[in-house]
Amino acid sequence: MMPAIILVVSLAALLQFFVSYCRSIIAASVKQPLSAEVRDVTGISRAASGEDFLRVVQLLQLCPARPQDRGEIRAVDAYFRLLSFLQSALGRIVPALVSWTDAERGQCTYFAAVTLERRIAFSRDLLAQQMST
């Protein structure tokens, strides 16, 4: 009985900590504006939509990876999958959840676009260094 209670409490806490952790990663990038170039490439004109997330991640994979952003992309990718699962599993029962998960999925896409912007800048720096040597 006791291990079962500990398991339930641990999993509930894990879910809450994981969601908050991912939101803290995303929140750090929300204030960064996207350049017109990245907006064109990603197709994000005004608000980012969750539907674009996978496409932006595919674009991300085309750029050389920055070692420091691999972990955060994996965490946000897992968060996006969790949101998609919640939306498809509970969306019909709890309609309010759909608008919340939509907004969150949009933030995930915006985060991926900001990371793409950083990777493009990183690639340009790499190229510039190679050209100068």
């Binding site: 500990i6 398991l7 641990s10 894990l14 809450q16």
Partner: protein, 232 residues
Amino acid sequence: MPGPFDYSIWILCILLEASVVVCSLLRRSFRRYFTLNLYMLASLATGVGRYVVLARSGLNSDEYTYFYYYSDAILTICLYFALMGLYSFVLEELGAATYVRTFSMLLLAGTALFSYGVIHQSENRMLTLYVFELSQNLYFVGLVLTYLLWGAVLKLRETRARVIQFILSLGVYFSLYAANYALDNIYPNLNYIWVHLPQLISTLLPIAWCFAFLRFSEDARLAPARLAVIPR
């Protein structure tokens, strides 16, 4: 004997723990986050120590078993102090550092006594059982304390991005460990999974702390209301 996978995770973990200390030194935050660095150094020393004992005595030796469980208990206590360090950060403006220290000592003593109470009827390998029980209980107490700390962060509107990242990653770490211990108790026949999972879990904390040191400066701020699962 451990296979290539176990050794790879072991080495990765040692490297990541060393990276946390290096990152905090590079960011000139070693003294500020001393308890976190102390835990990483203790974990690093334990990883190396376990390898030496394993190479010398073998996996099934009493030396390795004792060393493993005692070092695990010491590490859990170090992590507990790291958590108390984070409490001091969050509550420093309230001037509650002395109360936090007293409370943490009492809780540690209470957990030790409770663990003794659970195993005192067992006659065989009582000390090893005690250390195992103490670690298991401290992980759950750690989880509850981290949850309370997160509540305090939201209530006191703590905005320091690094502190928030440290607390949340610690929460994920404690939750995973506590869930793993609980699953081990519920499904002991799947022991081969519950024995290997902690190795993977143990890499998460140094990765997250490294990231927090590298990605956020000491001045970086986050709005805590944005991080609550239920918007405040």
